[in-house]
Amino acid sequence: MTAVLTNLFDGVAYGMLLFVLACGLAVTLGLMNFVNLAHGAFAMAGGYVCAVLVNKSGWPFFAALPLAFVASAMIGAALERTLYRHLYTRSHLDQVLFSIGLVFMSVAAVDYIMGSSRIFIKLPQVLEGQFDVFGVGIGRYRLMIVLICGLLTVLLQLVLAKTRFGSRLRAAVDDPRAASGLGINVPQVFAFTFAFGCGLAGLGGALSAEILGLDPYFPLKFMIYFLIVVTVGGSSSITGPFLASLLLGIGDVAGKYYVPKMGPFVIYTIMIVILIWRPNGLFGRTAAR
């Protein structure tokens, strides 16, 4: 019984991490309808920035985390302004080709600069080990992830629902032309959102070095996971991707624990079945017919 709960906790931590990693993609893909397969590259960038700061420059881990966010957000903003924005109106095929190209470039570039082996980030003592709560093993690091990601989720929800920026974003997404007619600077809103999503991915990348493993192939390995979160979760709100992340996290941890031999088979099968059953995602808007 306690093993079940420990697994559940690990799954939740994993799922929340996936959510932070992927929610930027939920916005670009779901809301802006841009197929950005390179989202994982921004996460990887954040992870490596954090690793260099902590391991080489001796920064404290908690100080390096925000920097991972900032670095990825800045890279995201720069790319959005120079490249991405030209592709919003292009076909999905073009977007796919373009972002795969970016993934390949990032993989090779990181491999060239940092080497191809997996890297670890030195963690502060506080985060190591686990403690028992009524016999359930709670990893300190995972607890921190749950706390940070939970806070971020609440914050995001509040920003989207309550702030002026949130309503601008929703307006810009619903009907860009009407929104710009109302004086909303749509390209700016998109750029900011894109950069923020990249920043979150970067933060997620830094946090995931310990759990998912960080190497140059990270964007390729986890691309499918991010896509699952968004397509299965649907794109009408961030609640859908959040629930999908949790499902995916719990399912993956449980799958690896209980049927280790089946590997990722279970996850892919579930994804395909769900997409067949509900092409717009579990929590998405139902199609017009």
Binding site: D94, F98, M105, M262, L275, I276
Partner: protein, 345 residues
């Protein structure tokens, strides 16, 4: 009068399907190159295989507009099927094994096509990608059968038709692959210039209108997806038969992604796109690998990004500018037959 108009219509309707002299020139050139560089059979075989694989993707992407991120699934099934047939000595005749492997991929294509026709671009991307990943996971799980990451052991390809041994220089392999490509190219050419092929282009252009003139959209998409899977399976089987290898790589995402690049370089939606793209891609790969052996992925990525940013159409217009110019000078093309004379008021 009316028969005049009718024969005009017939003439122009057939126009696309007519063999152009440049096509003959192309195939003669291919054969000549094959004969001229006997020391390069291995790499040329690689190009031929890739061309066939790209031709397969062109059928669904270029003609029917289905974006697939997991075309390697069919390549992989064909490759493993051919490998297993040989390793266990089930079918010794390579040609027969090739067809059986193609059919195996075709069956998978038919079954999965029902998943692919549902949903829009994004769902299709996910489902195609998911199927390829799933097969990769399966092949890894059952590594006792597939050989896992080490690859399938004991593949021994018997002489073709019992006559031609697969030699270490790859001579038999090359001409075998080329012959298969040519035959399948002829078939594909027939298909795309048929009413069926035209209806695919109609579906790609406007599925709403396609249905509104009576085209059974889903059935056509299923049909072409199944055919394309057959082609990809054959390409995979050729890979195994000419290299005596089959490993998990055949399902890899990179393979599907590279394939898209091949088609994008050559241009989608006309049969020679994949054929030309395969040649250019392989040459690019060669050049990049000599510059930076380990990091050629970077340059491939850069090529993709640049192609998309500049615009696929624009690049092809530029690439075709000189040939078109020559063509115009030589043949005085674009002399569209004037119809105003026989148009009765």
């Amino acid at each position: 009068m009316t028969t005049n108009v009718q024969s005009d219509v017939a003439y122009h309707a057939r126009q696309h399907g007519r063999w152009h002299w440049s096509e003959f020139a192309y195939w003669i050139a291919v054969l000549a190159v094959g004969l001229a560089f006997p020391s390069r059979y291995l790499i040329m075989t690689e190009i031929v295989r890739l061309a066939l694989f790209a031709l397969s993707l062109d059928l669904i992407l270029g003609y029917a507009g289905i974006v697939s991120l997991g075309h390697a699934a069919f390549f992989g099934v064909g490759a493993y099927c051919a490998g297993l047939l040989s390793a266990h000595g089930l079918i010794d005749e390579p040609l027969l094994a090739l067809i059986v492997s193609g059919v195996a991929a075709m069956v998978l294509g038919f079954v999965t096509s029902f998943l692919v026709i549902r949903g829009a671009d994004l769902t299709r991307l996910m489902v195609t990608l998911g199927i390829a990943l799933l097969l990769e996971a399966l092949a890894e799980r059952f590594s006792n059968i597939t050989g896992g990451t080490d690859g399938l052991q004991g593949i021994d390809i018997k002489p073709l038709l019992g006559l031609f041994e697969f030699d270490m220089f790859g001579r038999t392999g090359f001409f075998y692959a080329l012959a298969v490509l040519f035959v399948l190219f002829l078939l594909a050419r027939r298909i795309v210039h048929s009413p069926f092929g035209l209806s695919l282009r109609a579906i790609k252009n406007n599925p709403l209108r396609a249905a509104a003139i009576g085209i059974p959209v889903n059935r056509r998409l299923i049909a072409i997806y199944t055919v394309a899977a057959f082609y990809a399976g054959i390409a995979g089987a050729l890979f195994t038969q000419t290299t005596a290898l089959a490993s998990l790589d055949v399902f890899a995402f990179d393979k599907s992604a590279d394939l898209m690049l091949v088609l994008v370089i050559g241009g989608a939606g006309y049969l020679y796109g994949g054929l030309i793209g395969a040649l250019v891609f392989r040459m690019l790969q060669e050049v990049f690998q000599t510059i930076t052996p380990q990091y050629w992925m970077f340059w491939i990525g850069l090529v993709l990004v640049v192609i998309v940013l500049v615009g696929r159409q624009r690049i092809h217009a530029a690439a075709l500018f000189v040939p078109n110019l020559i063509l115009k000078q030589l043949a005085g093309r674009k002399a569209v037959v004037a119809l105003s004379d026989n148009e009765a008021p």
